[in-house]
Subunit: 210 residues, 2 copies
């Protein structure tokens, strides 16, 4: 089996997202060229990326939108129920709890964790909140595979260690800290400051009349 490039894997979810948009727009078929244009990529790259996983297109016709979306979803594991646990229930954690996008993509928030006694044992938006100290037990019981880290920055590494102690290997980090994890653990950080800086640059060049 040929090794699939990291860069390819990262693009798969982009393709998924765009295919959902196309699907909403009522498009039934899409060409590698069109998909590439919409994502600012090279058509060859789109085809090559897809070719690592199979032959999804039809020559002279293109790719069937819903079929390709289904295939990529399958590859990305979006069809299976991915159970996630949210660690930290401040404003950010609660905002994420309200986020509809999880269920749309087959993600299920299975448990909440916090250290605040006022929250532990209570139910937030229909989800049970547990003590951080009980995480190992609950994670195992619920089969949670993905952790969402939404604690205050100062607690990031400590809570991270708890998460690792639960055997979770996939983490979505919403803190601003760069937490250290073992090599077999995948951590992705959500950071929008790069976009902020870009917008700042844009608004500045706007007002300069450039």
């Amino acid at each position: 089996m040929p090794k699939i490039p990291d860069a390819t894997i990262k693009r798969l979810s982009l393709y998924c997202k765009e295919l959902r948009v196309l699907s909403n727009e009522g498009m039934e078929v899409v060409l590698s060229k069109d998909l590439a244009n919409r994502l600012d990529l090279n058509p060859t790259q789109v085809r090559k990326d897809l070719s690592y996983f199979g032959k999804f297109g039809r020559r002279k016709r293109g790719y069937d939108v819903s079929e390709l979306l289904a295939n990529l979803s399958e590859i990305l594991g979006i069809t299976t129920d991915n159970k996630i646990g949210i660690f930290g229930l401040g404003n950010l954690g609660r905002a994420l709890l309200n986020f509809k996008g999880f269920s749309v993509r087959g993600f299920y928030v299975a448990a909440l964790f916090d250290v605040d006694p006022a929250k532990i044992g209570s139910t937030l938006f229909g989800k049970q909140c547990y003590a951080l100290s009980d995480a190992q037990e609950i994670v195992k019981k619920e089969g949670i595979k993905i952790a969402v880290l939404a604690v205050p920055d100062g607690a990031a590494q400590d809570v991270m260690d708890v998460i690792l102690g639960c055997g979770i290997k996939s983490i979505l980090n919403f803190t601003q800290r760069h937490v250290v994890v073992p090599e077999d653990v995948m951590i992705r950080s959500v950071d929008f400051t790069d976009k902020l800086e870009l917008l700042a640059y844009f608004s500045r060049s706007k007002s300069n009349g450039r």
Copy 2:
């Protein structure tokens, strides 16, 4: 002049972020090795990246944290005060209000906007909350150039229209909706579902023993 790799540019803000953390921790000097470890990079890469812009380190000693941070900030153009307005004060809006990264990067939250009478006129985390209907006046008065859209998805386009009516040309969109804007407006959307999907893929291939 040697061409600076795109990958290097993208890492500069990572370095900035980590240097700010180091600065907060009271570190005055940092080694390329340490910076690399904290960011999960190779020390050589850190040095090479920095070397495109100059010689900031001292052999046998390392890099002066605040000096390097100042240099990188200069390079990235993070200097002027950018005034932003937050539209929508649900959990997400409040989470953003708490977000320290704004001020650290020279962004200043100048006003909050909502439609909830209970919030209008009140002060949240030291910031004044105004009625959405007063946005035009306040935006002009405060000189707000960037809008953060954090309203419920259903209200996205309506509030977007209000924002546009204020003459704001730079928008950071936290809703899941695809909002329509004129061509001279820059909108950046914050979406982490691609990362979620990547994590799902990873956790699945893990359990398959791949």
